[in-house]
């Protein structure tokens, strides 16, 4: 009985994983792209003060900057700038 139950559970898990894959795979790229677009906007907000755009939440943004540093290079490349747009803030 216990065996049957665990077998059923295993089959359910497998089916569920295959279903999730079937649901997600065709749209994985589109959703990741949409998420990246939102993240790009977020990056702009965080680094806006440095470009002279006044930002009321600049204090909190400053705190986030070190956390987003890793993504900075890829972001400015995506935005069509080969080099970092800031003189005092170089990444490449």
């Amino acid at each position: 009985m216990k065996n049957t139950f665990s077998r059923l559970k295993y089959i359910y898990k497998k089916a569920s994983a295959a279903g999730a894959e079937y649901y997600n795979a065709p749209y994985r790229a589109a959703i990741a792209r949409a998420q990246r677009d939102e993240d790009d906007l977020f990056m702009l907000l965080i680094f806006s003060e440095m470009m002279g755009i006044p930002n009321p939440a600049s204090w909190y943004c400053l705190e986030l900057q070190p956390l987003l540093l890793e993504r900075f290079h890829a972001w400015h490349l995506r935005m069509g700038m080969e080099r970092s747009p800031y003189d005092h803030f170089r990444c490449c």
Binding site: A18, G19, A20, E21, Y22, Y23, A25, P26, Y27, I31
Partner: protein, 563 residues
Amino acid sequence: MSSIVLMLLGLGGMALGFFVYSKFLALVVFKLSDTFITPAHEFEDGVDFVPTNKFVLWGHHFTSVAGAAPIVGPAIAVIWGWLPAFLWVTFGTIFFAGIHDFGAIWASVRNRAKSVGTLTGEVVGTRARAIFSIVIFLVLLMVNAVFGVVIARLLINNPSAVVPVWGAIIVALIIGQAIYRAKISLPLVSLLGVIALYALIYIGPDVPLALPAEGVIGLSPSAAWILILFAYAAIASLLPVWVLLQPRDYINGLQLFVGLIALYGAILVANPTVVAPMINMDVPAGTPSMIPLLFVTIACGAISGFHGLVASGTTSKQLNKETDARFVGYFGATGEGALALAAIIAATAGFATFADWQGIYHSFGQGGVQAFVTGGANILSAGTGLDIAVAGTMLTVMAALFAGTTMDTGLRLQRYIFQEWGEIYNIKWMAKPLPATLLSVGSCLVLAFGAGGAEGSGGLLIWPLFGTSNQLLAGLTLLVITVMLVRRGSPTVFTLVPLVFILVMSLYALLEQLRGFYLKENWFLLGLGAVVLVAAVFVTLESVAALKRAKAERKETEAKEAN
């Protein structure tokens, strides 16, 4: 003629094609290798490039390529009798569609998963690339216009399906929210979604809904439905994919499997007799000649260029092993062939007498998807004991949802093309999503109404033209595959024969159609047909030139190797 015999012959032939012919293609023509590192592994990024289990990948590929077109085409083409449609679908699937879809995946996988459009530019030439984008635009334009008309007709003829068809969209919206926001487990959501959908279908006949016959704000019901459908498709194509498109595709996929299994099961139980003639000698006046029109009326289900876009767009990026291409590509085409065969059986064996059948097929372009719904409902009801109204509603919902998904995906793709043009030619407003969508909808509406007057009902006249453009797209993909095979020194006859055949038939069919439009003084369609003809001539010339070049290159390489 017993429909079980027809079914066994068709499915048996396709199975033989898969087990024998596709194996031969894999070993001798494409020379697939298990050791080849596919792009899914080489560029694995968890987003576009993800190695995927071949059964799951087949599921996607099949549900992405199978839609309303393999139902509409065969259901129109049986007007010439069941045999021509049956033979073209069966042999088309085995020798045309199979190698086309399989080859498109292979060609893309061997070229870092590039799309057929890009490959046409790289393998054949920049001119061919330009023709490719024009043909794609024409295909999208026509498919959207035609499907708008098809769904409108379905909703008018089957008022019981109106509530379930629109209800299914609400179900899909709820599924999307339940999965992404509430994070409810997928099996549970699927189960509830399917129950809700079939409950809607079950109550559909009790709550029929029709637009007033005298019209809505001066528009006929048909024109009003077409406008409503395009408004819906425009909104759907602008929404983020997870909100509607993704859950709706998922429901459609489930429905496709349920529908196919139910239809074939019912055929096995009821064994209805095929009442349509084997070859219809007494076709209604105005029906064009079977050769060449049969080969463009049935595009999807026999060979369709649309598949190449799916095969090289998403499928090739997820292929785990090169040898999986055979199962995913060839068997995917076989799945669509099976759907087309079901449509043929429903539209020829689902009627009590020959006179009933003739009543539906009283002129060319009639019958079609409605014959599939009526005939299929009779078979389903006889085989499963389901109430005939419910069976009819179920098949209408299936066909309408398929067509609807194709419409909003088509509009989305068309919008991308307009946006791209906006960027290339520096037209700022056209590069934005909303104006580009409005342009797409506008161009489709011009076509839907321009072809058939204020009713919009003549839009189905475009169907064979749509088939022709779709075949031209398939021709370009086959050309890419053939040129690659020539360069590798592999046998080319297996792709060359289908390529020549569909090019000849497309050109011949176009000339026939142009003559028909001229005689009917339909200048709008004559103009559109002329554009397709120009594209067809260029595709043919490019094919000859590219193959000559490739053969010369190959000879040079061989001579060098010999030295």
